[in-house]
Symmetry: C2
Subunit: 332 residues, 2 copies
């Protein structure tokens, strides 16, 4: 690769920051020396953490004096002013000094401050929060996950374009795309979904294969790569999947760890159980991508560790190399 | 117990019927001789299956000549006429010859034929489809699961009364009740949910403790016993949980069965894995309960085996002994 991908990093958001964020950068740098990190945060702390572990050609630190707190309301966060690490990281994208911005901080604040600073892509009405979701065959893109509680068919159409473009930027493949619904027959669902079905069916966009509706129990089959929904339903689906996964793995842990035989066989079976755990490791699909603004904004999970943060940095660089924004503009 | 619970059973619905249904009755009869089964279906077949395995005092067979097919649309099913086993079973409840009706057949048809035959409970605007859902501490009641795509705050209020009454009928305890939403703060969600929050908060119904909002990832914590939602969101949540559970147990099976060590330790760990499987056995929370009509209608899953069907017969008798309909009428 020739040109570097410039990533504006808010180092002060999320649990255990800036240490987690800087360790993530160090880890990411090991496998990718084509990323340039513009790090916004407490310079003294960051310098001592980064030490000599990242090549000086690959980063700079912009000292900031204020930060958004996790308990701030979006409005409070915005009012906190333009000298927070989050605001300044976003502004660096606005000023074209960075290609993309990432934060593990307060989600609501990140969305609001991004919307205040960055322009919408022309002809997109609302930005959407998307995420990667594991399935039998790989990963799907799901959106919207809560940025928009109520959506029109135009919004859902926009989300389709954006979601397909994101999938193509990340995986270089034409995705199958479906609308999340409560039945697979054309007549099921609410009016907005039926309208969107008709639009997608009529327009026959080349960038994805429209597969119609998908039900909740099929989300993880891997037959569909992009799943489109309003933000209310998408958020409930994602969180329910998360809760179910936690519930089941806990039940399994209790069953296997509950007595000596369980403990012994779990030990024997260590590598198999590790394979299982690795397949479902939430660090692999950490975070969310806010799309629809003229630069993508990446949200890493606040509670994730440095490996998860490093994976989100990878997503940042793949989004830029994959020309996500260009792809959306060409299709909308 | 003194009086018998009279259950109208549609014997011809679901996979592998009537055998599955009759085996379910035989199994149910073993532990409960207080149930009386009015069995609607092909008399010859049923007689040879039931043989002498159920006390003659506990059942009768009503011969029927027609049945609803699984692929019938609800309208087709209703048009199929009044001589199907499903229609006649429902009619027997309408005529007060049975206390409750159960079918493993076509869900849409069951809902429509029930609505055609049975009256609504006074002051309830729409009936709802509810189900049991496992959690860390036991079972929750969740509704609506797809009978009503769009719901008003009055509908969600009705569902709250009905869901709490169902929980109390089954578990003899005052439940904690919450609205499924995308955040736990009072300001989150759409207008209808916020209105419902206000109504439930103001009315302070004695039959449940109103716990506010619940998010998808908390559904299985067991802190909330009744979860209320519109039918679209509820259906997506239930099916997503189902899909996630299948996905994870498949991944686990692949990991544990993939090599000799996995197979060997799974064998050693047989009883622990069995405990795990039992805890998540879908037969334990089989089916759905359609409430809001002046008699409850129980839908057993079409693909479940006779043990699952027998569990649903248990639910029928607990609903009647728990005076579900009385409880709803007293609170609405």
């Amino acid at each position: 690769m020739s040109e570097m991908v410039k990533i504006a990093v808010d180092a002060m958001g999320g649990d255990n920051s800036p240490k987690k964020v800087i360790d993530g950068i160090i880890h990411n740098h090991l496998s990718n020396d084509n990323n340039y990190y513009k790090i916004f945060g407490d310079k003294n702390k960051i310098e001592s953490l980064i030490d000599t572990k990242v090549n000086i050609k690959n980063y700079e630190i912009i000292n900031t004096f204020n930060k958004v707190n996790s308990e701030d309301s979006p409005l409070e966060a915005a009012k906190r002013g333009k000298d927070t690490s989050m605001w300044l990281a976003i502004e660096s994208v606005k000023n074209k000094e960075s290609d993309i911005v990432i934060s593990a901080g307060n989600t609501g604040a990140l969305l609001v401050i991004s919307k205040l600073n960055l322009k919408m892509i022309e002809n997109i009405d609302k930005p959407a929060l998307s995420a990667l979701w594991p399935n039998k065959k790989g990963m799907s893109v799901v959106l919207d996950l809560g940025a928009n509680v109520e959506c029109s068919s135009k919004n859902l159409f926009d989300f389709s374009i954006m979601g397909a473009s994101l999938y193509r930027s990340l995986y270089f493949d034409i995705p199958n795309l479906a609308l999340l619904n409560i039945g697979s027959e054309e007549l099921k669902g609410n009016e907005i979904i039926k309208e969107t079905f008709k639009i997608l069916n009529d327009k026959q966009i080349k960038d994805f294969n429209f597969s119609g509706y998908i039900e909740g129990d099929k989300l993880m089959n891997g037959d569909v790569n992009v799943i489109v929904s309003d933000g209310f339903t998408g958020n409930v689906a994602l969180k329910t999947a998360e809760g179910t996964a936690n519930f089941i793995t806990n039940e399994l842990k209790n069953a296997l760890g509950g007595n000596l035989i369980g403990k012994f066989t779990s030990l024997l079976n260590y590598s198999n159980l590790k394979k299982f755990k690795k397949r479902l490791d939430p660090r692999l699909y950490n975070g969310a991508i806010f799309i629809g603004l003229d630069s993508p904004v990446v949200k890493s999970h606040g509670g994730i560790d440095f490996i998860g943060f490093s994976n989100s940095l990878d997503v940042c660089s793949r989004i830029i190399k994959g020309n996500l924004i260009e792809k959306i503009k060409n299709n909308i």
